[in-house]
């Protein structure tokens, strides 16, 4: 079970958190302008990386804040955590 450093509360057990899928998928500002394919790209297409992955997490049983996590899915190492709206650390790109 991970120990996750919530950017608002500090280190907590994984059981307090929920994972929310891939990070940095921005909801299109003008969905009506998009073709079916473009909308489907936003709606359905997600990466499933073995290795370094950018993810969204939420501190459900805590401050209820969403934040981003960089995690290596091959060994579950959490490489970085940063708040919503902050730029992802470039060195893991």
């Amino acid at each position: 079970m991970f120990l996750i450093h919530c950017p608002y509360c500090g280190e907590r057990e994984q059981s307090e958190f929920k994972a929310g899928g891939e990070a940095h998928i921005v909801r299109p500002k003008q969905p009506t302008e998009l073709s079916d394919d473009q909308w489907a790209e936003y709606l359905f297409m997600r990466k499933n990386i073995k290795g370094v992955q950018f993810e969204r997490w939420v501190h459900t049983h805590g401050c209820r804040k969403w934040f981003n996590m960089v995690r290596d899915t091959s060994n579950d190492e959490i490489k970085a955590i940063y708040k919503m709206g902050e730029k992802p650390p470039t060195k893991y790109k």
């Binding site: 079970m1 991970f2 120990l3 057990e13 929310g20 921005v26 909801r27 003008q30 969905p31 009506t32 998009l34 079916d36 909308w39 489907a40 709606l43 969204r56 939420v58 459900t60 209820r64 804040k65 969403w66 060994n75 579950d76 190492e77 919503m84 709206g85």
Partner: protein
């Protein structure tokens, strides 16, 4: 005690404390300190069980948790009886009752033993191959397989024991209290780290503590004496917690570990009452030091499984620790120096050793020389080729090994014996390390896997790290601990070590035989009866991956997870397939390291604590009035209120009629309530609901439908505008938490610019809904100050008011189609307001109704229940709810998906009403709907989602989803049931009061 094999008093055994116990219904005696295994051996009992597949007689093989054979059924009574207990681990106590498992009718005469003679027809994969066909035979096989092949019996009554869970946070956790663990614990604790030391055994000191040989010395003291002093010292350190009888079951990522602390299993039964039996420790450690030791390897040769064949190290432990001789004519069989340590121990105690068979041709270590000096015959370059004796070994034959070790040469020599000790070298216990995600490294010299890459802040020390001998263990330990703990100095910098152990080993995974392999039984996995022959067969049949071979042969799949034989399986595979051992990988060891009881896993979460449940503030009233309850999410909701002799059907019919004829009352407190405030609250609602919200006047209510981004209906409910920037949203009972989560997600991640605040207030309010033609009269009695005229308080509006001094919100909203009022009041006034409504409604026969009647009433009106009439594939258009989807709004969640090529298909499943040809016939929810049942395959058009007998319409009604249903009004369809077909007609889903006259009646 006719067969007492107790040889010499041991300080670990209290001979003044005699304990009687029963094994297979016969009474025996042992001493305090004995395990069941040592006590049985002292009584000269080796045969304790039958093997899984061939039912071969099996005896005690080891002295620890790796035991594959000596597993017994403990306790007689039906609630405490426990299968698969290792006789080598259970400490005896007064009154212990154990019996052999996997034998019938008895361990000495077992019918299943016939499998042994049938074994040529029971090869690897036998069960897969045979019982796959013909399928109809399975029932016949099953009875016999279950009876004769099971591993013990499970209890049939609830477990009376108490279990608990405990969290432990520490700086350093040390697993294993052998010499390495003791040194690590002392070093860690003395440097100020909060330290926890655990060991599965009931004593500290591992195998060193009973090491009495002059050949192993530390600072000129015999290693056990030196260690004893260390142990006495660590017991005095404050910040060191020591837990014995504590087995680490799982080592997860981020140094999170689970351990089982056994607290009462060693006590006489009468001393266990009211005490916690097992405690599951949930340990979060900053650093972990694994000092889990190593397991001796057996040797793989024909008939290497007879009772009386043990690991050499086990024989040494039984003699040194328990003071028990496993045999009176002992032979040891080895490929390394370990067996000579055993021999020396036995020799010192005066226990007869007939011979040592050593695979190695040239051995001249100090230990070997000393053995020979004492006139013990050593056969160098020999191997055992067969053993004899059915219920106990009585003879072995040996032959000389060829130079390359691939063949046997010369002639057979027979040796009588009653005990054979095997030593195939050592396997580091890396199970926990690999569980934690660690990567192993293969060491070619002695063919062992040792920790390679550590996934967290942890190290392995001692023999689990491949440092097997005393000097190897101690020489590097100081530096390792200094580096790992980041400290300057330890007490173990300059130890003077004497260790006479030659490290040469002649590793032959499968020893050669004079017979062809098909005629031999060299067991690799004792518990599952997998032999080297089976592994070779699997390879011949094309299996290559170790994981496949494992499943096909069942090697390593017993309760012991193949702790003894897995390495040999790998070795045989790599030798046969010509691949390199290190490249083959290993099978995965999964938690738990040793089996856990279910009681330990669930702890205190049993009975009513199994899952938390939520009660409304009016719950007790429902209980007092004999409501039946149903679970909705975690809520207990009143389902219906049966009166005398009423079943569910009668109660629901009565409640439903009363609500429409006069008045009904429902506890709706479980509906999710979210308080929404902020200057952008209206804009926010516009974005999350399909309909428009900006123009909703203060004091008005509106029904809203919420979609997922894929356009599918997610939740629904009424939201009320309390003020300019203040709304209260209701959600479905089950959806409350996820809706809040979803709204927060959008607010925080997509629209952080919006000024909106969300607060869950579900538990803060009790919600009482009064409906029916007389509801207005009842409310006017409960709240006399309020003007209830349709002009001042129309449908879909709300008022702030008071009942006495208590503030409340009243909404005029309806889920039944009747005129109805919903009173929201601070939760702790809920029951008294409910009772006031009951009192005021008495003259109108106000009838409390539960969720079942609520569902019926809304079905009459064709109102959907999200999650019952919808699944995650229904759009509002599919539900014929186009009216609620705003055409004007530029965007809302899910809007774009409503005109994807898939969602605009005409033949999607759509919500329709169904009436049966026979109005008395009620459909089954979930029943399939077809058009033509005669042509095969029958095309499934849809299914029934809600179905009731309507007492108000006096006919059966149903809702369902049907492909292209919207355009099928009036069409006849068929519901095929098991032994009949029901004719139905597609109708509009609104069955009652299409004009909504009753809302203002």
């Amino acid at each position: 005690m006719t067969d007492n094999l107790r040889v010499k008093s041991s300080k670990f055994i209290d001979e003044t404390y005699k304990i009687s116990f029963k094994f297979n219904s016969k009474t025996y005696y042992g001493y305090k300190g004995d395990t069941l295994a040592s006590a049985l051996l002292a009584n000269n009992i080796h045969l304790v069980g039958r093997s899984f597949k061939y039912h071969r007689p099996r005896g005690i093989m080891t002295a620890g948790s790796e035991e594959p054979n000596a597993i017994v059924q403990l306790h007689k009574d039906t609630s405490r009886t426990e299968p698969n207990v290792r006789a080598t681990e259970i400490e005896i106590y007064e009154g212990l009752e154990a019996s052999s498992q996997n034998c019938w009718p008895s361990v000495n005469f077992d019918l299943g033993g016939i499998n042994n003679f049938l074994s040529p027809v029971l090869p690897a994969g036998f069960y897969y191959k045979t019982f796959m066909w013909p399928a109809s035979f399975w029932e016949k096989y099953e009875y016999f397989i279950r009876k004769s092949a099971g591993l013990g019996k499970s209890p049939s009554e609830p477990d009376p024991d108490i279990y608990e869970h405990k969290y432990i946070h520490c700086d350093v956790l040390i697993i294993g209290a052998g010499i390495s663990g003791i040194i690590a614990a002392k070093t860690s604790a003395k440097n100020g780290f909060k330290t926890l030391l655990v060991d599965e055994k009931p004593y500290l000191g591992g195998s060193t503590i009973y090491q009495n040989s002059e050949h192993f010395k530390i600072n000129n003291q015999i290693s056990s004496s030196w260690l004893e002093k260390e142990i006495n010292e660590i017991k005095k350190i404050d910040n060191l917690e020591i837990k014995i009888r504590t087995s680490v079951a799982a080592f997860h990522g981020y140094n999170f570990l689970l351990a089982r602390e056994s607290l009462t299993d060693h006590l006489p039964l009468h001393q266990r009452d009211e005490k916690v039996r097992h405690r599951l420790l949930k340990i979060r450690a900053k650093k972990v030091i694994s000092a889990t030791g190593s397991l001796e390897r057996p040797l793989i040769f024909d008939n290497n499984d007879r009772p009386g064949i043990l690991l050499s190290s086990a024989i040494e432990k039984y003699s040194n620790f328990f003071g028990v001789a496993c045999g009176q004519k002992n032979v040891l069989f080895t490929n390394n120096d370990s067996a000579y340590e055993t021999a020396m121990s036995l020799f010192q105690k005066g226990i007869n050793i007939k011979a040592i068979i050593d695979n190695r041709e040239e051995v001249d270590s100090k230990l070997v020389k000393e053995i020979e000096k004492n006139n013990i015959k050593v056969y160098k370059g020999y191997t055992v080729v067969d053993t004899f004796g059915y219920k106990k070994i009585n003879k072995i034959s040996i032959m000389q090994l060829s130079k390359d070790g691939q063949k046997v040469i010369g002639s057979k020599i027979s040796i009588d014996c009653d005990c054979l000790g095997m030593s195939g070298g050592w396997t580091p216990a890396v199970h926990l390390f690999t569980q934690s995600g660690g990567k192993l490294r293969f060491r070619d010299d002695d063919q062992v896997f040792i920790p390679g890459i550590y996934p967290s802040d942890q190290i392995s020390i001692g023999s689990c790290n491949g440092d097997f001998t005393l000097d190897e263990i101690l020489i590097g330990i100081s530096k390792k601990l200094k580096d790992f703990l980041d400290i300057k100095k330890t007490d173990y910098e300059n130890l003077e070590i004497q260790s006479h152990f030659n490290k040469t080993k002649r590793n032959i995974w499968l020893l050669p035989s004079n017979k062809i392999i098909g005629k031999t039984k060299p067991f690799v996995d004792y518990q599952n009866d997998a032999t080297a022959k089976d592994i070779k067969l699997a390879l011949r049949e094309g299996f290559r991956s170790i994981e496949h071979v494992k499943r096909y042969t069942t090697t390593g799949m017993g309760t012991d997870q193949g702790k003894l034989g897995n390495m040999h399986a790998l070795g045989i595979i790599s030798e046969t397939a010509g691949s390199k051992m290190g490249e083959l990988g290993t099978t995965t060891f999964r938690p738990p390291y040793t089996p856990l009881t279910f009681g330990t896993i669930v702890g205190r979460n049993v009975g009513e604590y199994f899952d938390v449940f939520r009660k409304t503030p009016i719950h007790d009233w429902h209980v007092e009035n004999k409501a039946k309850f149903e679970n909705v999410g975690q809520w207990k909701r009143a389902w219906f209120y049966p009166r005398k002799n009423e079943g569910m059907h009668e109660a629901v019919q009565r409640e439903s009629k009363a609500a429409r004829d006069s008045a009904g009352i429902l506890d709706a407190s479980t509906l999710g309530k979210i308080d929404i405030q902020g200057t952008d609250a209206s804009e926010f609602l516009n974005r999350v609901y399909t309909n428009a919200w900006s123009k909703l006047a203060i004091g008005k209510c509106r029904y809203g439908l919420m979609l997922n981004e894929d356009g599918m209906v997610y939740d629904d409910g009424v939201t009320t505008r309390l003020d300019e920037n203040h709304y209260i949203m209701t959600t479905t009972t089950g959806g409350a938490a996820t809706v809040l989560g979803k709204l927060e997600d959008y607010l925080q991640t997509e629209w952080p610019e919006l000024d909106v605040y969300l607060t869950s207030v579900t538990d803060h309010y009790a919600t009482i809904s009064v409906c029916g033609p007389n509801s207005k009269k009842i409310i006017s009695k409960v709240i006399p100050d309020i003007d209830l005229s349709d002009e001042k308080f129309p449908h879909m509006s709300f008022k702030n008011t008071k009942i006495g001094k208590v503030k409340c919100r009243v909404m005029r909203i309806s889920f039944t189609g009747e005129q109805s009022y919903e009173i929201n009041v601070q939760a702790n006034y809920g029951r008294s307001v409910w009772e006031r409504c009951m009192q005021a409604g008495k003259e109108f026969n106000i009838t409390p109704y539960g969720t079942e009647t609520m569902h019926l009433l809304r079905a009459e009106k064709g109102f959907i229940i999200v999650g019952q009439d919808t699944d995650a594939t229904m759009t509002p258009i599919d539900l014929q709810m186009d009216w609620i989807v705003s055409k004007k709004k530029y965007d809302f969640i899910g809007k774009r998906s409503l005109y994807r090529s898939d969602t605009i298909r005409e033949d999607r499943k759509q919500l329709i009403g169904l009436v049966t040809e026979n109005p008395k016939e009620v459909l089954e929810e979930g029943a399939q709907i077809v058009e033509d049942a005669s042509k095969s395959p029958v095309e499934m058009l849809g299914h029934v989602t809600s179905s009731y007998y309507s007492p108000n319409l006096e006919k059966s009604i149903a809702l369902g989803v049907v492909k292209g249903g919207k355009n099928m009004m009036g069409q006849k369809l068929i519901i095929p049931m098991e032994n009949k077909q029901i004719n139905v007609t597609v109708t509009d889903p609104v069955f009652l009061d299409k004009e909504n006259k009753r809302l203002n009646a």
